[in-house]
Symmetry: C2
Subunit: 453 residues, 2 copies
Amino acid sequence: VRAERLVIIGGVAAGMSAASRARRLNPQMEVVVLEKGDYVSYGACGLAYFVSGVVPQAEDLVIYTPEYFRDQRGIYALTCHEALEILPAKKQVLVRRPDGETAPTDYDKLIITAGGAPDVEVPGADAPGVFRCNSLADAIALRAFLEERKPKRAVVIGGGYIGLEAAEALRRRGLEVSLLERSATLMEDLEPEIGQWVEERLRAHEVSAHLNSTVSAIDPAADGSLVVSYGQRQTLTADVAVVATGIVPRAELAARAEIELGASGAIRTDDRQQTNLPGIYAAGDCTETFHRVTGGAVYFPLGTTANKQGRVAGENAAGGNASFPGIVGTLVTKVFELEVAKSGLSWAGARAAGFQPEVVKVDSRSRARYLKGKPLRCTLVADRPSGRLLGAQLAGEEGAARRIDVVATALAAQMTVADFVHLDLGYAPPFGPVYDPLLVAAWQALKAIGRRR
Amino acid sequence: VRAERLVIIGGVAAGMSAASRARRLNPQMEVVVLEKGDYVSYGACGLAYFVSGVVPQAEDLVIYTPEYFRDQRGIYALTCHEALEILPAKKQVLVRRPDGETAPTDYDKLIITAGGAPDVEVPGADAPGVFRCNSLADAIALRAFLEERKPKRAVVIGGGYIGLEAAEALRRRGLEVSLLERSATLMEDLEPEIGQWVEERLRAHEVSAHLNSTVSAIDPAADGSLVVSYGQRQTLTADVAVVATGIVPRAELAARAEIELGASGAIRTDDRQQTNLPGIYAAGDCTETFHRVTGGAVYFPLGTTANKQGRVAGENAAGGNASFPGIVGTLVTKVFELEVAKSGLSWAGARAAGFQPEVVKVDSRSRARYLKGKPLRCTLVADRPSGRLLGAQLAGEEGAARRIDVVATALAAQMTVADFVHLDLGYAPPFGPVYDPLLVAAWQALKAIGRRR
């Protein structure tokens, strides 16, 4: 009997997780990964650290090479191989090889982990001196430009966590940095009380952030600089621009093969990561995922989710039976010294999802009173009728990032704030105040819910 | 109508939480706290920081004074007032006042928060130069001795977290420190892989720790030093000794009033913190509590638990209806630079509780590979037949303490390891590796369970 053949389209987080899991579960299976770029398996979340120079070499971000996968895991990870078409009726993928030739390859099972593509919507984003920071190739190009041309003024377009990390990286390299965000909020849905701390931190590091500032065009000037037009006829001149306006799912290939997409435009899967076509799975930034708080599908591309989904897809493609329960929308980042973390829904997000939310704010510190510590702020959102915890956000120089995981865990367990207040969280003076800020916030939320009911 | 009168015996964590909650819920209620010591409402968890000098003044540990409670909260917190007898038939407490006079005081509701007493079992522990570190008075006496007599050699008896913190405090003051622990394990039930790191850290700071070393006597020598006899006829000579062999519940007063005690010798209450006698509640270090993992009663005295139980007792005494769901056994501390954290059951504890546990160990780091970080170790225990998460322990210089709260939350929700592996924990390179060590441990536990079943 011929061995079953698993083809995976895309070799970053989801793809390599899927490949590894499938091979481990079914060592007879032939596993082939088609990656159109030069690298597989790199730490995409560390791109900003490579741009800033904290991570010296691009290779430092590469977790495993194709040789490693071949020799140690029996996986064929083919770089510079682009999947052009999926032909479900023939169980084939049409592939462009590095030599430019196009040929079909057979599969028994297929996993699509095509990732996300830059959400190109800024006119002029293809001008020289304009970069993205979504892939290792993007980051290498940007850093080469920074080192060779030594630009002085940078503009970052987009105030999500990628934009914030890019702004910090550029500032650390000594550039003057402006940041333009089209909405009124940084990081998509920060509560105003948390966003305010992020804005203050940017100001303290001389990054000028402009909210409500949609970019209408990037125009190259005669002297080689870039003129960025935004808002009501305002302009900024810069020597380098980074477009970080988010990503959209790479789902055209799937759509052309009549694989069903969700309302978000990303591939729809069930909780086993299977698409509407038998034997075809999808995972990572090209898919939707289930949001455990709203109970609906959401597009929330993130490396950790991609790894988990990839593992599930790999297990199922190899004949196992795994399921992915979904996400709760946890996101952490560092804005200079400030840790910023969120999980679940913001007040506005909860309203939009049909809840009747109450939001509370607590200002606390990262250590016991007599050990000083750093200011720590948290907000917490709960649903009035059900008493359910819906989300929380934290900011502070110490103790903010890891503390959000309590919220992520409680959201997965669908806890009420009445349950939450009695959590047996650890306490010692160097690690927090005796009344944990999250527990204080939950008490306040409980009170707010009672008052309004 | 006469206002209801609530009397509270004991004015530290549980007592003052109860008083504050009762007054807030029922501002008509007269609230009287009887505290036999000189202070109410102090940060008992910070005593070691006062001994070391990191916290300069004893007053820095005092959160609120009796005057504050009287003026701001309408609570009469009477220091140097010792409750001698509870007379439930008369609804009275017999009190010794500061002037030595004894008089009864009436109550409508009573809350016993008498705390814990040193587990005095070491012969000679009353010799001069031998101290405890359980109360603010203990810590003041110890520090005065250190500053006035300038002892050079210290011995700490007991390797629980109080003993470890005392050893560090003494070492930071420049003393030679030996630590004697009667059992084979530090911090009661550390897994060997975690305990080993704690022992290494003590060694690195020249604290010589001796396990399996029961102290049989402390004898004052002619020159004023102390000779500590332990193990098989071994001795240590020291100038100061700190006995940190744990505490036992102060429950005699309750027992004499025919208030029921549990098998642990601590006061038994229901989940509303009510004792077997109507109108009499108990909370804090004099009570047992429900362990949410074992499902049984346990004596696990801790300030955060005392605060929570006190609040529940105060609410119920004031006519409300609150309940305390119990603990999961979370404990964090810092041993020099090393954060040590545990929650739930150790492998041995799980066996003793009737589970069929598997334990796994994961060595990881506190940041993404390319940002270096510090070594981080975790162990995780799961139950084979049910797949339930039973506990975890963590050690490392960064990211250990707060990470345990994920485990505490998952234990409260009675998660299985199969649920746990899919938790949407936050990831960013400065805060952890892309595969969180706890999630990796849960995967390994899942595998270990599958293999054995």
